[in-house]
């Protein structure tokens, strides 16, 4: 109603400005804290994702704190007495204010979107994800067609419920993923049964693995260490156990591991699901019906998934 600002209430403007300043400081502090809520950064993608998250944490903190401030103020100072049922001053709207609070959020949203699209483009340069091959890729990769693939390619075969990693050039397979640090790697992701998700939190990257397609997926690890690879798309009974370790090591260490692995005979790899399934059958299979786990993959190196991991 009172759309004509007859006089400016200077104390109110001062208080609002000061409080905005306080909230800006709090928001900035939260944006620094945000990095600590995330796992270690172990890929070239991670700093870009974390920067965006930190920025949005600051905005989020500012918005939430303002809303909480207003609610708190109203609850403290705008209370009516218990039996006071009289009406407040009837302010039905303020068109100028309503246009402002439509336009400013829209501008902020476009700002965030602009920033996020740029990060998307940078991520796409780091690891393009659009190379999807249709057909029957499981048979294709089954035959070690290493000469067709670029040198740093790792084939990832997801099953219910195990992970198998094949290094076609070295003719090595493993149930533990080893990668050289600071070298781009291309994964060729295939699934033999249902949709799985290739997710390494320390890399901040995730790609669904769709049966019937082979999906090329690129990333560059930047930090040596042992991390978790988790299945991120629900895949059935032993979904929770469908994890593998990712070991990022120096170039020399990686070459050494490959050579060692090549000399090992094929042996049963890791599969917690097979182990639990066998125990369950012996105990009389209490619970509901389940798909039988795929047999343990035959690999050169089973590796381990019980050592301490960093993320």
């Amino acid at each position: 109603m009172t759309s004509s600002p007859s006089r400016i209430n200077f104390p109110a403007v001062a208080i609002v400005s000061a409080w905005t300043g306080v909230l800006v400081v709090i928001s900035f502090w939260m944006s620094r804290q945000a990095y600590h809520w995330l796992p270690v950064q172990a890929s070239t993608a991670a700093p870009l994702v974390d920067g965006l998250f930190s920025f949005e944490t600051a905005l989020a903190t500012f918005v939430v704190c303002w809303v909480v401030s207003i609610i708190t103020w109203v609850v403290l100072f705008n209370r009516a007495d218990k039996y006071d049922m009289s009406d407040a001053e009837p302010i039905e709207g303020n068109t100028r204010l309503e246009i402002i609070w439509t336009v400013i959020p829209a501008l902020i949203v476009f700002g965030i979107a602009f920033y996020a699209v740029r990060v998307n483009q940078q991520l796409a340069v780091l690891g393009p994800m659009e190379h999807i091959h249709r057909g029957s890729p499981v048979e294709e990769v089954g035959g070690y067609v290493g000469d067709r693939l670029p040198s740093e390619t790792v084939e990832v075969i997801a099953r219910q419920w195990s992970w198998e990693f094949r290094y076609p050039k070295a003719n090595v397979s493993s149930t533990e993923l080893h990668l050289p640090v600071d070298k781009p790697v291309t994964f060729r992701l295939v699934s033999e049964d249902v949709i799985h998700g290739f997710y390494v939190p320390a890399f901040r990257l995730k790609q669904d693995i769709i049966p019937g397609r082979a999906i090329d997926f690129n990333l560059t690890p930047t930090r040596e260490g042992r991390y978790r690879l988790r299945d991120s798309m629900y895949s059935g009974t032993w979904f929770a156990t469908n994890q593998a370790d990712v070991v990022v090591e120096s170039s020399n260490g990686f070459q050494h591991w490959l050579e060692q692995a090549a000399s090992q005979p094929l042996q049963p790899g890791l599969s917690d699901a097979v182990q639990e399934y066998d125990q369950r059958q012996q105990a009389g299979a209490k619970g509901w019906a389940t798909v039988r786990p795929a047999p343990r993959p035959q690999v050169n190196v089973p590796g381990s998934n019980t050592l301490p991991h960093e993320a």
Binding site: D87, P105, G212, R228, Y234, T290
Partner: protein
């Protein structure tokens, strides 16, 4: 209007429940009175809230330790699938339809719904598909266990090979639920468009009616996609077609499009009426007109339009092309604009008001806080690079539980307390109500906040066991869930005891403005009967001194009901 085999005078009584002989039997019959159907919907929904909550508490019991040690993994997977399904299809949609039934006719001055028999059919389908869902628990293979999304191929793996499996019963129940909701939506939309009291133009409708209209329009547009997808999946499962089976040339990601084309808008079907409740209650309990009525009303349909073009954000990591990721990210973020318009309008409404901190107002304020929190995490989820990291982790679980329980269910509780007196003729107990609020607010934040750090750390959703580094926040969440389970006890005590022997309610205990408050509590079977008022001003005239209808004093003194 009614087909129940009772003396019509009993049904028209001003105080039908309790008191009149055998009157309670109406609630177990094929009754066509929208007010009876509304209470039927709400009662069935609250029963299923208890069932779904119990399942959730067993899940949180499993997750209080990292190892899988309480229930078998197959059981855990069945529990989380049925928890989501029951909470959405058996609790939240039915309880909202219950509020629609109670409030639409009374708020717009209609005697009943446009199609009372269809209305009763839509309701009675709820116990039918509820029974089908619950019966799947006793099948040899157990209930559906592929999540409430039921993505193929994992959902079409049928280990026992039986035709009647948990999954096929689940699909049947979901398809029936879709049909029931479509019938309901037709009824609500028709009633709103055709049966308003004289003088109630579109821009004199209460915001709750606007938001229900918007939400039910979404149902009509989106549900055929889900129902179609469910039927195709049923064919894949039992007839052996390959719509979604890669080995037969089908595409599993196609199902995700069908599913989310409806199931994302479904979130707005849930939250829009709750926006309506917030708009009604903030205005009434602050004794101030709703700030910016026109913007708030139109924002509902802006949300409908945008809500229909954001569905791909649910599966950014499934190999959708870059241009699609960017497009759906921008549309998703744009939803925050009309939503923000509403949030700012509520803040401006309570600002400088005369606040009564009674139970409905407390639930609204708590719900508003939770909603804003869910909103900022929603922006993060819309941002593709962040979503790639947290998609399918507990961050998403935390986000949508803040929306669904923190905002929507708290708004629904607010509505139940606010309108309880109108439809039962009794007042609820304020002390129990406030206790219910305190336990709900603390419990839901304790339960759902820890899910955000867990997701950021990389804990996937739907796991029946987890790595030890996730233990701390899971213990906190589990304790919160048990508190949330306890919080429902004062609610049930309050509802039952005050309905049985609560103090008699006056016609308008809040001094609120609205056609429903011009009716006696509880209203007679056909509401205003022959004396439908003529609306002469907008819905939130607090402090303006403008009467809502012609001859308002006659309605306030109940002169018409003494005939």
């Amino acid at each position: 209007m009614t087909t129940a085999p009772f003396d019509p005078r009993v049904l028209k009584s001003n105080a039908p429940v309790p008191g009149a002989p055998d009157n309670w039997k109406r609630f177990f019959s094929f009754n066509t009175d929208a007010k009876v159907i509304g209470i039927q919907y709400i009662s069935v929904a609250i029963f299923f809230l208890l069932v779904g909550g119990l399942l959730a508490m067993i899940m949180r019991g499993e997750l209080i330790t990292p190892e899988n040690d309480l229930v078998d993994r197959t059981v855990y997977n069945g529990l989380y699938t049925m928890h989501g399904t029951i909470m959405l299809f058996m609790f939240i949609f039915p309880i909202l339809n219950g509020l629609n039934n109670l409030l639409i006719p009374t708020m717009i001055g209609a005697p009943d719904m446009a199609f009372p028999r269809l209305n009763a059919v839509a309701f009675w389908m709820v116990p039918v598909f509820g029974f089908i869902l619950m019966a799947s628990f006793i099948l040899p293979g157990g209930p559906a266990n592929s999540g409430w999304w039921s993505y193929p191929p994992v959902s079409t793996q049928n280990p026992l090979g039986h035709l009647i499996s948990g999954e096929s019963m689940w699909l049947l129940a979901v398809a029936l639920s879709g049909v029931s909701s479509i019938i309901g939506a037709l009824n609500f939309v028709t009633t709103i468009i055709r049966m308003r009291a004289p003088g109630m133009t579109f821009f004199r409708m209460p915001i709750f009616i606007w938001t229900v209209w918007a939400a039910q329009t979404l149902q009509l547009i989106g549900l055929p996609a889900l129902t179609g997808g469910a039927i195709m999946l049923l064919f894949d499962l039992v007839v052996g077609t390959s719509f979604f089976q890669p080995e037969g040339g089908g595409d599993p990601v196609l199902y995700q499009h069908f599913f989310w084309f409806y199931s994302h808008p479904a979130v707005y079907v849930i939250i829009l009426p709750v926006f309506g409740i917030f708009s009604e209650l903030f205005s009434a309990h602050s004794r101030k007109p709703l700030f910016g009525y026109l913007f708030v009303a139109l924002a509902s349909f802006a949300i409908v339009f945008l809500g229909l073009i954001v569905w791909v954000h649910h599966f950014f990591p499934s190999g959708v092309p870059e241009w699609m990721r960017n497009l759906f990210m921008v549309t998703t973020m744009l939803i925050s604009v009309p939503t923000g318009v509403k949030v700012f309008a509520w803040l401006a409404t309570i600002w400088g008001g005369k606040i009564q901190l009674n139970t409905p107002m407390l639930f609204c304020l708590g719900g508003l806080f939770n909603f804003v929190f869910a909103g900022v995490t929603g922006i993060m989820l819309a941002t593709v690079p962040i979503d790639i990291h947290v998609n399918n982790t507990y961050f998403v679980v935390g986000h949508f539980h803040y929306v669904i329980y923190g905002a929507a269910v708290m708004g629904i509780f607010a509505a139940i307390y606010h309108w309880f007196s109108k439809f039962t003729g009794r007042m609820y107990y304020e002390g129990l109500g406030k206790l219910h609020f305190a336990l709900t607010f603390i419990g839901s934040n304790l339960n759902f906040f820890p899910m955000h750090p867990l997701g950021l750390m990389g804990m996937p959703r739907r796991v029946s066991s987890y790595d030890p580094e996730f233990t701390f926040w899971n213990v906190v969440a589990s304790l919160g869930s048990f508190l949330l389970g306890v919080s429902i006890i004062p609610f049930l005590l309050n509802m039952i005891s005050s309905w049985v022997r609560g103090p008699k309610a006056p016609q308008n205990p809040w001094q609120a403005i609205g056609l429903e408050w011009l009716l006696p509590s509880p209203p007679p079977a056909e509401n205003f009967e022959e004396n439908v008022p003529t609306v002469i001003s907008g819905p939130y005239g607090y402090g303006t001194g403008k009467p809502l209808v012609e001859n308002q004093a006659a309605y306030e003194n109940q002169q018409f009901q003494e005939v």
